[in-house]
């Protein structure tokens, strides 16, 4: 009897928690549901801003529930590159490169931050109004603003399907960070049997840790990374130039959060970065074996410090 009462209470608490996390507006619920269910084939333009620079890319997106195939058009800097995701894993095929980058599926991570913002009803407000037609389809415009009234994102949603046809993302000061917009979209697509199959030979596929080790060996970095069990998985790793030096950048994902780990020559004073705090982020930097390491995220600083202690070099 006691066990039944406990079970019912637990079920009630779970239902309450789920109800609080779900947005009240049916349109927003449909947006979140569509992430794993929608089917379409479309062409969209994606724009990223970096200061005064901007980067525009056109891509073909094929989506079959949780499965994706994204192709980059001839004439673009990424022409010929293909991304495939089958719901569990994700692969990037690049022409001229034998190795195929493999990593965890990103699934509906694109909506994870929106989900967190919608669940935080004290911190964010949403307004929904009529939007203009996009790619020939009617839309409703959803605006999410923070406590100060600064818009953090705008979405133009096709009401019957919940598909986001245009999205704009803004930074903490209200500056635009980027956007995407569908130019055309087919809501009844037909896909080939192998559109979402893992590409290439299995031995050509290389996970992010293997790529990290390769880059570390080639560029003289330590093969340092966060191990499994930290709640974060390595998503991508790149070496980028900064102030005449080389910086190894690792992006991790977990629970809808993004965590960035940098490794660079000993140029960073240990402790938090001043500018990260001003941007509403937390950071933690330390030195090890003559190198600076920096973690940047929205996670609390103590958590970053704890993650820093769990770094492995292998």
């Amino acid at each position: 009897m006691t066990r039944w009462v406990a079970f019912l209470m637990l079920a009630a608490i779970c239902a309450l928690v789920r109800a609080q996390a779900d947005p009240a507006d049916p349109l927003l619920r449909r947006v979140l549901e569509a992430a794993g269910k929608a089917r379409y084939a479309g062409e969209r333009t994606v724009e990223y801003r970096r200061g005064l620079d901007r980067l525009v890319q056109t891509e073909l997106v094929f989506k079959d529930g949780p499965r994706y195939r994204i192709e980059y058009l001839p004439g673009s800097p990424l022409a010929g590159q293909v991304v495939i995701e089958n719901g569990r894993r994700r692969w990037v095929v690049r022409p001229g490169e034998e190795a195929i980058d493999e990593g965890p599926a990103r699934g509906d991570d694109a909506l994870a931050r929106l989900r967190l913002q919608l669940a935080d009803r004290r911190g964010f407000t949403t307004t929904v109004e009529d939007g203009e037609p996009i790619a020939g389809l009617p839309t409703r415009r959803v605006e999410v603003a923070d406590k100060r009234g600064i818009v953090v994102q705008r979405l133009w949603v096709h009401p019957p399907t919940g598909i986001v046809l245009r999205r704009e993302i803004f930074g903490p000061a209200g500056g635009k960070l980027g956007s995407f917009e569908f130019r055309r979209i087919d809501l009844q697509p037909r896909f080939s049997a192998d559109d979402f199959e893992p590409p290439g030979r299995p031995e050509a596929r290389r996970g992010p840790i293997a790529r990290l080790r390769e880059l570390a060996r080639a560029e003289g970095f330590l093969p340092a990374h966060l191990p499994p069990g930290t709640g974060f998985v390595l998503d991508s790793v790149e070496v980028r130039p900064l102030l005449g030096r080389r910086v190894l950048m690792q992006v991790y994902r977990g629970g809808g959060r993004i965590l960035t780990l940098y490794q660079l020559p000993p140029m960073v004073r240990p402790g938090p970065l001043q500018l990260a705090r001003r941007a509403g982020l937390n950071s933690y930097s330390w030195q090890r074996e003559g190198r600076s390491f920096v973690l940047v995220s929205g996670l609390p600083e103590e958590r970053l410090r704890e993650l820093a202690g769990r770094l492995v070099v292998r």
Binding site: V46, Y48, R50, G51, L52, D53, R54, L55, Y68, I70, Y72, S76, P77, L78, G80, Q81, V83, E85, R90, V92, P95, G96, D101, D109, A110, A112, L114, R148, G149, Q153, R167, I169, G171, A173, G175, L177, G178, S179, S236, E238, R240, L242, L243, M249, V251, R253, I258, M267, V268, R269, L273, L275, A276, R278, A279, L281, S283, V294, V296, S297
Partner: protein, 122 residues
């Protein structure tokens, strides 16, 4: 309007939230200023004479100060801006390639274009 209303309006306007142009903006401004300082030094170096030498010295002093004190903040600004762009990329690209992963195809060009370049191309 009475004195009380005048003071109230003044107080409200003063308390309107402050704006921040953002870290990426600051990093880009620092780049422009550094470029400006280098250009100034080159121009100054072309002129001869004692007064010109003094001007060069002053410019150099300023440039060194900007470089010395700016290095840390530029580094920090870039690291923070890269993280922000990784977060924005997650929202925008989904499973597609985020700018962090972008490696131009062999025949591709640098995907980043500056606004100035675009204006020049018009």
């Amino acid at each position: 309007m009475n004195h009380r209303e005048n003071r109230a309006v003044r107080e409200w306007v003063r308390r309107l939230p402050e704006d921040e142009p953002g870290l990426a903006w600051r990093a880009s401004l620092n780049e422009r200023l550094a470029k400006e300082a280098r250009g100034r030094n080159r121009r100054a170096a072309r002129t001869a004479g004692a007064s010109a030498a003094l001007a060069v010295a002053a410019s150099l002093a300023l440039w060194f100060v900007v470089q010395r004190t700016g290095t840390d903040s530029r580094l920090e600004a870039e690291l923070v801006a890269w993280h922000q762009s990784a977060v924005a990329a997650t929202d925008l690209s989904g499973p597609g390639l985020s700018p962090i992963e972008w490696r131009p195809s062999p025949a591709g060009a640098d995907p980043w274009r500056s606004v100035e370049e675009e204006l020049e191309a018009l």
